[in-house]
Symmetry: C2
Subunit: 556 residues, 2 copies
Amino acid sequence: MAANGATARRRSSSDYSEVQASRLGTSLSLPDVLRNSFKVVDGPPSSATGNPDEIAKLFPVLFGQPSAKIVPADQKSTADSNQRLKVGVVLSGGQAPGGHNVISGLLDYLQDKTKGSTLYGFRGGPAGIMKCKYVVLTTNYVYPYRNQGGFDMICSGRDKIETPEQFKQAQETAVKIDLDGLVVIGGDDSNTNACLLAENFREKKMKTQVIGCPKTIDGDLKSEEVPASFGFDTACKLYAEMIGNVMVDARSTGKYYHFVRLMGRAASHITLECSLQTHPNITIIGEEVAAKKQTLKNVTDYITDVICKRAENGYNYGVILIPEGLIDFIPEVQQLIAELNEILAHDVVDEGGMWKKKLGSQSLKLFEILPHAIQKQLLLERDPHGNVQVAKIETEKMLIEMVETELESRKKQGLYKNVFSAQSHFFGYEGRCGLPSNFDANYCYALGYAAGALLHSGKTGLISSVGNLSAPVEKWTAGGTALTSLMDVERRHGNFKPVIKKAMVELEGAPFKKFLSMREEWAVKNRYISPGPLQHVGPTSNSSNHTLMLELGAQA
Amino acid sequence: MAANGATARRRSSSDYSEVQASRLGTSLSLPDVLRNSFKVVDGPPSSATGNPDEIAKLFPVLFGQPSAKIVPADQKSTADSNQRLKVGVVLSGGQAPGGHNVISGLLDYLQDKTKGSTLYGFRGGPAGIMKCKYVVLTTNYVYPYRNQGGFDMICSGRDKIETPEQFKQAQETAVKIDLDGLVVIGGDDSNTNACLLAENFREKKMKTQVIGCPKTIDGDLKSEEVPASFGFDTACKLYAEMIGNVMVDARSTGKYYHFVRLMGRAASHITLECSLQTHPNITIIGEEVAAKKQTLKNVTDYITDVICKRAENGYNYGVILIPEGLIDFIPEVQQLIAELNEILAHDVVDEGGMWKKKLGSQSLKLFEILPHAIQKQLLLERDPHGNVQVAKIETEKMLIEMVETELESRKKQGLYKNVFSAQSHFFGYEGRCGLPSNFDANYCYALGYAAGALLHSGKTGLISSVGNLSAPVEKWTAGGTALTSLMDVERRHGNFKPVIKKAMVELEGAPFKKFLSMREEWAVKNRYISPGPLQHVGPTSNSSNHTLMLELGAQA
């Protein structure tokens, strides 16, 4: 099999739509602090998000190092402008709009401040580092990808640098091409790995520094210093456009409930943001389901209740948003799946259903209320390790069937009289590779430029952080946050593993509270908003998303 | 059950996104001929598209009437400007972007030229006419819907005015509110019905005139005089945006084949247009499949061949477009379904499969190669008449399974070595209710304005037609085409029924030929184009679609 992306074709001008071409020609703004003379200054020593003692043991060299701020300087940067750097960059994990601009920003920094430097793009993700597969990224090479979506400039991959053997391969590559620095663009896992790599290089007395960049459309890599992960803004706007269209359709047709599943497995930020942008009748937030220890029946009943209430008001249609990872948040489903994996590993599933006696009573009850197709899927479709394939369950279709069954039963009791028709949607891939919004385009460019500045000033083990995002681009701040300061440990197979904790939807946070204050009205009345196509010029083109603005306190 | 849309909530300004609001404030352009003094002049007598003798019998009053042109006049219109008209308008069938602008254009005509007139919006489609359910459409009422997607101003419905009883109800409504005219906004069926209604009113010596307007995102209502149906332009642009994003994703990820099913059952115009906009690796056009009498196996083999060829070139990913109505174009599938309906009506489907002996050999062979899920669906899911539910088959998933099976078999022969992973998509509802493109916004406004002029000049049984669409809006022409001239007859249950023939993809037409000249290159090389979000200002905002321009000879 050809390596991931190894075969992607270089873009050429004939491949561009007019809109893409016009974005290509749009110049990027830099925060004032990066545009003018600046210096990198250290903050106070840092600790860790949790278990600092364990993190200190895992990162003996880097633990406690200060975060850095980039601040205006009266004169030229203290960094040596005659230095020529050899820097690598890698894209890790799923696509997010803006990745190409991180690379553009990094390249522009090197061109502006360390003329004669070389930028290596490792191909196909971390595997490219281990196999020393790269392309030299020149201005000409990078230009066709400016402001463009996708990761196809150098492609990405999901391999990890984890084992001693893999670390050794990475070291060999760093030595072979004499790398001064490496920028890792990725999510929480990739940034954890970036920090391990930084630690490893330092420990081996190698000069190669490592800087991370926060990427994920899921929006679950963020903290006080790293207020947003790039791609979330664009992806949510694209999903919200489509949800808004579906809403207008629902209201016009007057006879369908649209169940929309949205990408985002581990956290429900995308679903919450899309809800704030479009005001659907029902929004399920995984974190709330988990906090309230809700069952699948609870969720089904809630949806059914709203449908019945709407029927009383004369509305026989609606729009319902569901996060991709919903069932991962339901404890009883996790329990059922664990029991099924156990049973399927040892027993034959007999037609007569004798095997079901091995299920606990709660799991059996849950299994019995699942739609037949889902039951089948749970029993038949397994991953290479023999485990049930939870990720393959089409949650929106499962809920439609469960709501249908519940409505039938209410109909028999005379509690519901309408005809229920549903349409299902999954919005995912359409959003990962859209043209970056102005926000993501500028944010990424600043992240990349700042990453260059951090490397140039000798930093390692930091994640590029751009702040003050509720202000215009000119006023944004820049710096680098100690990756160890974002970490906690998890116990896996008896060992402590460092992890950057995923940022979940906070039930006490401003975005969820805003949603909470409105959802009852949205449920029964119709307050649909259709955001329309993502704009690059004119109204709304420079606004970011509700989640970010609410978290920054910049929106009521 | 609440009548379709009867309960839709009026839009208010708080429901608008900024983009919607900005569209609301955008003024609409009218063709010069409608903006200045004009008169309506008749062309030569018309005939019918087919079987003129039968059409003459079905439309004894209207058959042969001339089409009309709206042309500049030296002085004020010959139509009486002191006349006050009572005009009704109705939306019929599925949503298409721009419907609200037809109504805006009609209202503006009445305001401009027949001050004091009243516009009645029949609610929920033709049922609103029969039940005399309407709302008076004032400037204030209509304003919030200008340039907005959806049909929620008065909603739509799929009822038809067909039986003598239903015609009587329509007559009663016309008499009750003293209707001078009625504008029917709909597809081929609705316009056929509009003409029957016009004939009926004339025959009964009633004054009510009827004018049609060409609506359908499917693009299958068009002729020389009616070069486009509205909504097609916007819907294709929205689908193409998403397809473009999926392409960038495919190229970046390098490991998925994306099978994209696109709305459009009867004809494959949408699929062809999206293909011309985005250059996918494979596009299946139903009309070509039918013309070549291809089997499902032929289609599967074609897709598999391209996948294998791409694998040899190092590409293990791609994008494939499939029209929603594909299997309706495959004769053997139609045959199988007919046989199944017959068998299922009379026999029990036994587990042992004895029932299969009743299938003809060709149908049995086809049934056996279908994926299990599809076999089940064909046997179990039936509509209220007991018929197999063809419309519910997810063609893209069926093809994925069939291609998978074929690739497995080639793998065993050593002809294919890669891992095949596929993602499925269906783009439909997201496109029907988008914000109208500038083209659809202006086209609809002109259609509605012209419909007003036709009514005012005493015309009936015409469809509003706006032409010269490759020129700027100012130079567009306007007029009305005799609906009978678009008709042919079909024999149904032994009787002749008038029909406006659906315009299919012409294999000798310019759009298909353009596609044909490029598809081999698109298949093996990657020529993806990602059109990006629909623009209302700036580049591409005023261009229409490839199909229209190629058909008009305005694009090579």
